[in-house]
C-alpha cells in the first residue's frame, strides 16, 4: 500500500508534459518573484498588469503573421514596456489612464486578430490562462535564459536599481541614469512576462509578480533579503501549485496563484501588525 502511495506521488512525473511544466512553472515563479520585488516597491502593480495585456497583443499578432512567438511578442512587449515606463516616469496627468488605454487596446487588438484569423478559442484560452500542455523544451530554455540574464543584470546593476527605486531624484543627480535603469527594468519585466505567459497566462501573471514579493515584504525589512525570499516563495508556490493541479484536476495557473495566495494569507495572519503595516504603505502607480 505504501509503495502504491509513493508511486502515486510520482505519477505526474511519468508524463513528459508535466515534468516540463513543473520545471518551467518553478523557474517562472522564481523569476516573477525576483522582479516582483521591484514591481511592488516601485508601486508598479498596475503597470505589470497592463504590460501582460500588451504582450498578449504582440503574441496574437505574431501568431497571425506567422512570426516566431518570442521574436514578435518580445519586440512588441519590450517596446510597450519602455513606452509605459516613459509615460509613468513623466508623471503626466492621466498617466494611469494612458497606460490603461494603450495596454487594453493592445489586448483587444490581440483578441480581434485571433478571432478573425487564428484558431481562436484554443489559442485565446492558452494565452489567457496558460497551458501546461503547450510547454515545449524551447519554453524551458527561454525561461532559463531570461532568468540567468535577469539575475546577472540585477547583480551588475544592484545598487543603481536600489537607488533609482528608493530615491530616483537623488539617484539622478548622483550620476545614476535613472531613465536608462527604468527602461532596463521594463525590458526585463517584458521578457519575464513573455517567457512565463504560456504557463501562467496573461490574466494571472500580474498576481505572480505581486503576491510573492508582498509576502516577502511582510517577512523582512531588508531589500537584499527580499531579493531572495520573494523568488523562493514564487518558485515553491509555483512548483507546489503546479503539482497540486494534477491531483485537483484544476487549471495549473489558477492553482499556482491560489497556492501563492494561501501562503500570503498565512503570512499575513502570522506577521503581526508590524509585518502587515509594511505592505500597507506600499504605494501604487
Amino acid at each position: 500500500m505504501i509503495s502504491a502511495l509513493v508511486g502515486g506521488v510520482f505519477t505526474p512525473f511519468n508524463y513528459q508534459f508535466f515534468t516540463n511544466g513543473i520545471i518551467v512553472a518553478t523557474i517562472a515563479g522564481g523569476l516573477c518573484g525576483l522582479l516582483g520585488v521591484f514591481v511592488v516597491l516601485r508601486g508598479m502593480s498596475y503597470i505589470g498588469h497592463g504590460l501582460s495585456h500588451a504582450v498578449f497583443g504582440g503574441a496574437a499578432a505574431s501568431a497571425v503573421m506567422g512570426i516566431n512567438y518570442f521574436i514578435g511578442a518580445g519586440v512588441w512587449g519590450i517596446i510597450s514596456g519602455v513606452l509605459i515606463g516613459r509615460i509613468a516616469r513623466k508623471r503626466l496627468i492621466g498617466a494611469d489612464a494612458a497606460i490603461g488605454v494603450v495596454t487594453t487596446a493592445s489586448f483587444a487588438l490581440g483578441l480581434a486578430l485571433l478571432n478573425r484569423y487564428g484558431q481562436a478559442q484554443k489559442s485565446i484560452e492558452a494565452v489567457l490562462f496558460g497551458s501546461v500542455l503547450g510547454v515545449k523544451p524551447i519554453d524551458i530554455l527561454a525561461v532559463v535564459l531570461v532568468t540567468v540574464l535577469t539575475v546577472v543584470l540585477i547583480l551588475a546593476f544592484y545598487r543603481a536599481l536600489l537607488f533609482a527605486t528608493f530615491d530616483p531624484e537623488v539617484a539622478e543627480v548622483s550620476g545614476v541614469r535613472v531613465a536608462w535603469v527604468e527602461a532596463l527594468l521594463m525590458a526585463m519585466l517584458s521578457l519575464t512576462i513573455l517567457v512565463t505567459m504560456r504557463v501562467i497566462g496573461t490574466l494571472l501573471i500580474s498576481a505572480m509578480l505581486v503576491i510573492p514579493a508582498s509576502t516577502a515584504r511582510m517577512l523582512t525589512n531588508s531589500f537584499a533579503r527580499m531579493l531572495w525570499i520573494s523568488p523562493f516563495i514564487g518558485a515553491v508556490t509555483a512548483g507546489v501549485g503546479m503539482y497540486a493541479s494534477y491531483f485537483l484536476d484544476t487549471s495549473a495557473s489558477a492553482t499556482i496563484i491560489l497556492t501563492a495566495t494561501l501562503v500570503f494569507i498565512a503570512v499575513y495572519a502570522l506577521a503581526g501588525i508590524r509585518g502587515r503595516s509594511r505592505i500597507a504603505h506600499v504605494h501604487h502607480v
Binding site: E169, G175, M226, R278
Partner: protein, 259 residues
C-alpha cells in the same frame, strides 16, 4: 570664472509645459557661501536648486560649474518613502552606485560610512531601519549620505520642513558645523525667522530674483511684499531682523483676541 565661484547660473529661465517657473535669474554660489533661498510655494526655489545641481537644463541662460565640483544633495524628507526596506548603512552607500559595484557593502565602504555617521552623531544606528529613527536622526541620515563623498557644496531642499523646533535647532547647528568645516551650503526654506534670518546670505525669489544679500539688508517690508504678495512688517530684535506676518494679527483681531 573666478576660482572662488562654485556654480554660476547666468540669467537662467526654466519652464515646465511652457510656463516659466524661473525667469531670468542670475545666481552665483561662491566658496564659503551659506545661502538660504526663500519664496512662496511655486516660486521656483526647487527648480533653481535643480538647475544648480545640473539636474535640469534651463531654457535660456546657462549654468557653469567649477570643473570637478563635488556636490551633495539632500531632498525634502517628506518626499522620502520611510517604509522602504533599507537600513541607515544601505542609504549611505547608495551613492556609490556605479555599474559593476558588488551588491555587498565592502569593509572600506562600511568604515567610511561609519566615520560620517559618527561625525553626525548617528554612531551605532547603521543597522537600524530608517523608519525607526527620530525626525532629527532621519534628516541627519540624508545629510550624512550627501556628505559621504566629501562635497564642497551641499544643497538642501527644505531641510526644516515638517520638523519640530528641537529638530530644527539640531539641523541648524549641524549645518553651521559643516559650514565651519569649509562646506559651502545652499538651501531652500519657508522658515524666515527660524532659519533664513540666521544665515549670512539670503535670496528672495518669486520666479524672478527679488533680492540677494545679507538678511539685515534683504529683509525689508518692500522686498517681502514683492516676494510674497502680502504685507509684512520687519522689526529688529537684538540686531536680528524679525518678520511679522500681519495676516495672523488680522485674523486675531477679527476673532476678538486682540484689542
Amino acid at each position: 570664472m573666478s576660482p572662488e565661484v562654485l556654480v554660476e547660473c547666468a540669467h537662467i529661465s526654466c519652464a515646465y509645459d511652457s510656463a516659466f517657473v524661473v525667469h531670468d535669474v542670475h545666481f552665483t554660489v561662491r566658496k564659503g557661501d551659506f545661502v538660504g533661498i526663500v519664496g512662496p510655494s511655486g516660486s521656483g526655489k526647487t527648480t533653481l536648486l535643480k538647475a544648480v545641481l545640473g539636474a535640469i537644463k534651463p531654457q535660456s541662460g546657462h549654468v557653469t560649474m567649477k570643473p570637478g565640483l563635488r556636490m551633495g544633495y539632500v531632498p525634502q524628507v517628506e518626499s522620502v518613502d520611510w517604509n522602504f526596506p533599507v537600513t541607515v548603512l544601505e542609504v549611505m552607500v547608495m551613492t556609490r552606485s556605479k555599474v559593476g559595484r558588488r551588491p555587498r557593502i565592502t569593509a572600506e565602504e562600511r568604515t567610511a560610512a561609519l566615520e560620517v555617521l559618527d561625525r553626525l552623531g548617528l554612531g551605532g544606528l547603521q543597522d537600524r531601519h530608517i523608519r525607526e529613527l527620530s525626525g532629527g536622526q532621519q534628516q541627519r541620515v540624508f545629510v550624512a549620505r550627501a556628505l559621504f563623498h566629501q562635497p564642497e557644496l551641499l544643497i538642501l531642499d527644505e531641510p526644516t520642513s515638517g520638523v519640530d523646533i528641537r529638530t530644527r535647532h539640531e539641523v541648524l547647528h549641524l549645518l553651521a558645523d559643516l559650514h565651519d568645516d569649509g562646506v559651502s551650503i545652499v538651501l531652500t526654506t519657508h522658515d524666515l525667522n527660524g532659519l533664513a534670518a540666521h544665515l549670512p546670505r539670503m535670496v528672495c525669489l518669486n520666479r524672478e530674483m527679488i533680492a540677494d544679500g545679507a538678511p539685515i539688508d534683504v529683509l525689508t517690508s518692500e522686498v517681502l511684499e514683492k516676494t510674497y504678495g502680502a504685507p509684512m512688517e520687519v522689526l529688529l530684535h537684538e540686531g536680528m531682523p524679525v518678520v511679522l506676518d500681519h495676516g495672523g494679527t488680522d485674523v486675531a483681531k477679527r476673532l476678538g483676541k486682540l484689542l
